[in-house]
C-alpha cells in the first residue's frame, strides 16, 4: 500500500497546481499517514469499527489518485424542488458548482485555503490522509450580522466513473459574530466500493448559529468516514442532525468545542440499518468554558445482521463549572443477528456540573405490539408504527420547521 500511496501522491501533485507551501504541507500529512496507516481496533476510538479490516475486506486494493481535472455534467433533476435553496454540488470529491443565488453576495466571502491546520500529533490518521489528497479547500465565510435567507444544500454525488477509489474532501465554514446558516448535506451515491473521507470545519463566532442536517439515505456499497469539527464562541449554538442509513459502512464523528460561555451544542442522530450495514456515531463534546450546555439523542433501529455503534464522550474541563451535559442512546434490535454497541463516556474535572447519560437497548415492547394488534392492526403494521414513533422523537428535535417537513418526507417518517 505504501508504494501505491507514494506513486498516486506524486501523480496527484503533478496533475494539480498547488503552491510550494501547499505541497510541503501535503507531503507532511502523507508522511503522517504513512507512519500510522488506517486506524484499526487497537485504537480505542476504532474499537467497535475496525476500518482497516473493513476496507481490506470490502474493497481490497484502494486507488488514491482521483482526477480533479475531469469536468462533470450536473443533472438538474437531482435538485430538491420543495424548497428554494443555495447549492454546492460536489461530484466525486470535486466542487462543480457553488451558487449562493439567494444571498447578498457582499455578505459572503468565498476563498480557497492556502493553509490548513494540521496537528502533527493528532492521532487521527484519516485527517492526515484527507489533508494529503484533498483538492483545493473552499472556505465559506459568512459576515457579521448576516443570516442566510435560504438553506444551503450540499449535494455530495458520486458516479460510476469512480470505484475502488479513496475520495478525500474538505470544506470550511466561518461564521462571524451574529451570523447564521442552515445546511443540508445530502449524499447521492451511484458508485460502488469507494472509501469516502470527508472533513468539515465550522468556526462559530459570538452569537452565531449553525444548523447542520446530514442525510445519507440512498443505498450504496461505499465506505464513509465523515468528520465534523465545530468550535464555538460565546452564546453560539450548533445543531447537528444525522440520518445514517444508506451506505454499507459509515462513521460519523462530531467534535464540539464549547469555548465560550453560554454556548450550546445539540447532536441528534438516527441509525436505520438493514441487511449487513455497519454504522457508527462518535461524538466528542468538550466543555471548556463556564455555563455551557450539550444535548445528545441517538436512536438506532437495527435489522438483519447490521451493527450500530454509538460512542459519545462528554469532557468537562476543571474551569467549566455549571456545565449541563446530557446523552441518551436507545436501540431497537429487530433481528437475532443484529448488534448494538455503545460506549457513553463521561470525563469530568469540575464539581458544579450536571451531567448524565443513559443507554438502553432491546427488542420492541411486546405489550405495545399487543395493544396495537388488539386495536385491529396486523403485526407488521404495529411494528412499523412503533418504529416510526421511536424515530420520530429524534426528527422532532429539528428546530427549523421548513426543513423538518422536508426531511420527514425524505426519510419517510410521519
Amino acid at each position: 500500500m505504501e508504494q501505491k500511496l507514494k506513486t498516486d501522491f506524486d501523480k496527484f501533485i503533478s496533475m494539480s497546481n498547488f503552491s510550494n507551501q501547499e505541497i510541503k504541507l501535503k507531503k507532511e500529512a502523507l508522511d503522517n499517514f504513512l507512519k500510522n496507516g488506517f486506524p484499526s481496533r487497537k485504537l480505542e476510538n476504532w474499537k467497535f469499527s475496525d476500518i482497516k479490516q473493513i476496507i481490506k475486506k470490502n474493497i481490497g486494493e484502494l486507488k488514491f489518485y482521483n482526477d480533479y481535472n475531469i469536468k462533470y455534467e450536473i443533472n438538474d433533476e437531482i435538485f430538491i424542488k420543495e424548497i428554494e435553496h443555495n447549492k454546492i454540488v460536489i461530484i466525486n470529491g470535486k466542487v462543480e458548482r457553488l451558487s449562493f443565488e439567494y444571498e447578498e453576495s457582499d455578505k459572503i466571502n468565498l476563498t480557497t485555503l492556502e493553509n490548513f491546520n494540521q496537528n502533527p500529533n493528532d492521532d487521527n490518521s484519516l485527517l492526515s490522509l484527507n489533508n494529503s489528497f484533498s483538492n483545493k479547500i473552499h472556505n465559506i465565510l459568512v459576515k457579521k450580522n448576516y443570516s442566510f435567507k435560504k438553506p444551503l444544500i450540499i449535494y455530495q454525488i458520486t458516479n460510476e466513473k469512480v470505484s475502488n477509489t479513496n475520495i478525500n474532501f474538505q470544506l470550511k465554514f466561518d461564521l462571524e459574530e451574529n451570523s447564521s446558516i442552515k445546511i443540508i448535506n445530502l449524499s447521492d451515491d451511484n458508485s460502488e466500493k469507494n472509501f469516502i473521507n470527508n472533513l468539515f470545519n465550522f468556526n462559530l463566532g459570538k452569537n452565531a448559529i449553525l444548523k447542520n442536517y446530514k442525510i445519507d439515505k440512498k443505498s450504496n456499497t461505499n465506505i464513509k468516514y465523515d468528520y465534523s469539527s465545530i468550535t464555538q464562541k460565546e452564546n453560539s449554538i450548533s445543531e447537528t442532525f444525522i440520518f445514517s442509513s444508506g451506505s454499507d459502512y459509515k462513521k460519523n464523528e462530531v467534535s464540539c468545542n464549547l469555548d465560550g460561555q453560554y454556548s450550546s451544542a445539540f447532536i441528534n442522530g438516527i441509525h436505520l440499518l438493514s441487511k449487513n450495514k455497519h454504522h457508527e456515531i462518535k461524538t466528542n463534546t468538550n466543555h471548556l468554558y463556564e455555563n455551557t450546555k450539550s444535548y445528545q439523542l441517538i436512536k438506532s433501529v437495527i435489522d438483519d445482521s447490521s451493527k450500530s455503534v454509538y460512542q459519545g464522550k462528554i469532557y468537562v474541563d476543571s474551569k467549566a463549572q455549571k456545565t449541563d451535559g446530557y446523552q441518551l442512546s436507545k436501540a431497537v434490535l429487530l433481528n437475532e443477528q443484529a448488534e448494538f454497541n455503545a460506549k457513553p463516556e463521561l470525563e469530568i474535572y469540575a464539581d458544579d456540573v450536571k451531567c448524565s447519560h443513559g443507554s438502553a437497548s432491546g427488542s420492541l415492547d411486546e405489550d405495545s405490539i399487543f395493544y396495537l394488534m388488539s386495536r385491529g392492526l396486523d403485526k407488521k403494521t404495529a411494528k412499523e408504527l412503533l418504529i416510526n414513533g421511536f424515530l420520530l422523537d429524534v426528527v422532532e428535535k429539528i428546530t427549523d420547521e421548513e426543513i423538518k417537513k422536508l426531511l420527514k418526507n425524505m426519510i419517510g417518517l410521519n
Binding site: N335, K343, A350, D352, S363
Partner: protein, 478 residues
C-alpha cells in the same frame, strides 16, 4: 465526642508495622524463585509445572497501559515474592502457639482472633504477608463438610478439588497481573461448600501486607457446589510505608447449579500520605463463574484505600437463569486514583445482572468507573440494569464513567444510567440548619448516597464501612 473520634481515626490507624523477623525468598522474578516458593510450600509437581507455564506465558505478555491512572514503572526484579514470619517454618497447630507479637498486630487491626471467634461467630482465615496464620472455627465448619483453609493446605489435603478448579475461571493465559499471580502466588483462602449446605456463618479473611518491598500475591478459590450458599468477607489493611507496594491477587469463584456466593470486600489499604507519597497499588483480578443453572454471584465492594485501585470484579453468567450482581462504593481522596467497575458477560439464557456503582472523589483524586456489559447471541431473554453515580467534591478532582455496552441479542434488554453531580447546597443547608456541622452533614449525605450499596453488606461490615466512608472524606470540604 465525634471530633475526638475523628482525630483518632484521621491518621491511617493501621499504619504500624510489626517487628517480626521474616523469612524471604531471594529478590527477583525468575524460575529459581518460583521453584523456591513451590519447594518451600512442598507443592506437588503438577502445580510447579503449572506455575512455570504461567511464568513462560508472562515472559511474552506486556504490562497493560490502557488504564486511566498511570504509575511509575514497577521493577519486578526488585521485589520479594515470598515472605513469611521466621517462626512460621514450623506451622503452629493452634492459636496458643502463635507468636504473641503477631496476635498483638491483629488486635490492633481490630480482629483479635480469639475474641472474634467467641463474639462474632465469624470464621477468620488471616493472611499475614504470605502465609495463612491460623484458621479459626474449623470444627464447626468441618462438621458440615465445609472446607475452609489456606490454599496451601488445600493443595496438600484436597488436591483433586484444587486441580479441578484452580485456573478454571482465571486461566494462566489471562492478562499480565493475573498471570504474574499464577506464577508466584504464595497463599490465600480456599473454600468448598458441599452440595445443599448453607454455610452457617460468614467466612472472613483479613489481608495485611507487612514486610516492605514485598508484593502480596494471594490466590483465593471459592467453590459452591450444587444448591449451596456462602457469604465471604474480605478485609485489607497495610502498614504505612513511603514506597509503593504491589498487591496483585487473584480471586476465583465458582457457583454450580442453584448455588449462591456472596463476596464482600472492604478495602482499606494504605492510600499514601497527603502528598500522594507511598501507598498500595491494588491490581486485583476477581472473577466469578456462574457455571450451573440458577446460580448467583454477588460482589459488594467498599474501596476506600490504596494509592491506585485497578480492578473489575466480574461475573461470567454461563448457566441458564444465572444472576450476577455488583455493588460498589469507591472513594478517592488526596492523590488517590481508582479505575474500577465490573464486567457482566451473559452467555446463558435468561441471565440477569445488576450493577450499582457509587463513586466519590475529593481532594486531587481521580476516579473512573469502567464497566462492560456483554450480551452474547445465545443469551436470550437476558437483562442488565446499570446505574453509576458519581459525586465530586471540589474542582481539583475528576470523575469519569466509561461503560462499554454490547448487545448481540434482540430479545435482551440493557439499561444504563449515569449521573455526575456535587452535594446539593440545599441538602447541606438543611442539615446544617438542624445543627450538624459541615463535616457531619457531608458524612450524612454521602452515607445516604451510598446507602443502596451499604445495605448489601453483612452487618459486621456495614458498620465499619459506614465509618470508613466518613473517615476517608475527612478534610475534603470547607
Amino acid at each position: 465526642m465525634r471530633d475526638k473520634q475523628i482525630e483518632d481515626l484521621k491518621d491511617y490507624k493501621y499504619g504500624f508495622s510489626t517487628d517480626i523477623e521474616s523469612f524471604k525468598a531471594p529478590k527477583g522474578l525468575n524460575e529459581e524463585v518460583i521453584r523456591f516458593i513451590s519447594n518451600i510450600k512442598k507443592e506437588p509437581d503438577w502445580l510447579l509445572q503449572w506455575r512455570l507455564k504461567a511464568f513462560e506465558r508472562l515472559k511474552v505478555l506486556k504490562e497493560p497501559d490502557w488504564q486511566k491512572p498511570k504509575y511509575p514503572k514497577i521493577d519486578y526484579q526488585d521485589l520479594y515474592y515470598y515472605s513469611a514470619p521466621k517462626s512460621f517454618k514450623e506451622k503452629p497447630k493452634n492459636l496458643e502457639d502463635l507468636d504473641p507479637k503477631l496476635l498483638e498486630t491483629y488486635k490492633k487491626l481490630g480482629i483479635p482472633l480469639q475474641e472474634q471467634k467467641r463474639l462474632n461467630g465469624i470464621a477468620v482465615d488471616a493472611v499475614f504477608d504470605s502465609v495463612s496464620v491460623a484458621t479459626t472455627f474449623k470444627d464447626t465448619l468441618t462438621k458440615k463438610g465445609i472446607i475452609f483453609c489456606s490454599i496451601s493446605e488445600a493443595i496438600q489435603k484436597h488436591p483433586d478439588l484444587v486441580k479441578k478448579y484452580l485456573g478454571s475461571v482465571i486461566p494462566i493465559t489471562d492478562h499480565f497481573f493475573a498471570t504474574l499471580n499464577s506464577a508466584v502466588f504464595t497463599d490465600g483462602s480456599f473454600v468448598y461448600i458441599p452440595p445443599n449446605v448453607k454455610c452457617p456463618m460468614e467466612l472472613s479473611t483479613y489481608f495485611r501486607i507487612n514486610a516492605s518491598d514485598t508484593g502480596q500475591f494471594e490466590r483465593t478459590l471459592i467453590i459452591a457446589d450444587k444448591g449451596s450458599y456462602v457469604s465471604y468477607l474480605e478485609g485489607c489493611t497495610a502498614p504505612m510505608r513511603d514506597e509503593n507496594q504491589l498487591h496483585a491477587a487473584n480471586v476465583e469463584l465458582i457457583a454450580l447449579d442453584d448455588a449462591e456466593i456472596k463476596y464482600s470486600t472492604v478495602q482499606n489499604w494504605y492510600p499514601g500520605d497527603k502528598d500522594g507519597k507511598g501507598g498500595i497499588y491494588n491490581f486485583v483480578t476477581k472473577r466469578g463463574l456462574c457455571k450451573g443453572k440458577n446460580s448467583k454471584i454477588s460482589w459488594t465492594q467498599v474501596e476506600t484505600g490504596s494509592a491506585i485501585t485497578w480492578k473489575y470484579p466480574s461475573c461470567i453468567l454461563k448457566g441458564d437463569n444465572s444472576i450476577g450482581e455488583f455493588y460498589s462504593i469507591a472513594i478517592t481522596n488526596n492523590h488517590q486514583k481508582a479505575d474500577t467497575g465490573t464486567k457482566m458477560i451473559h452467555l446463558g439464557k435468561n441471565t440477569k445482572s445488576k450493577i450499582i456503582s457509587k463513586g466519590i472523589s475529593a481532594g486531587k483524586s481521580d476516579m473512573t468507573y469502567r464497566g462492560l456489559v456483554d450480551i452474547s447471541k445465545n443469551a436470550s431473554n437476558s437483562t442488565n440494569y446499570t446505574q453509576c453515580d458519581s459525586l465530586l467534591m471540589g474542582n481539583k478532582c475528576g470523575a469519569h464513567t466509561v461503560p462499554y455496552i454490547k448487545n448481540k441479542n434482540s430479545n435482551s434488554n440493557i439499561a444504563h444510567e449515569a449521573t455526575t453531580s456535587k452535594i446539593s447546597e440545599d441538602q447541606l443547608h438543611y442539615c446544617q440548619q438542624r445543627g450538624l456541622n459541615q463535616e457531619e452533614a457531608v458524612g450524612l449525605i454521602v452515607n445516604g448516597f451510598c446507602k443502596e450499596v451499604l445495605q448489601q453488606l453483612p452487618m459486621e461490615f456495614a458498620v465499619e464501612a459506614q465509618k470508613l466512608v466518613g473517615i476517608s472524606l475527612e478534610g475534603s470540604v470547607g
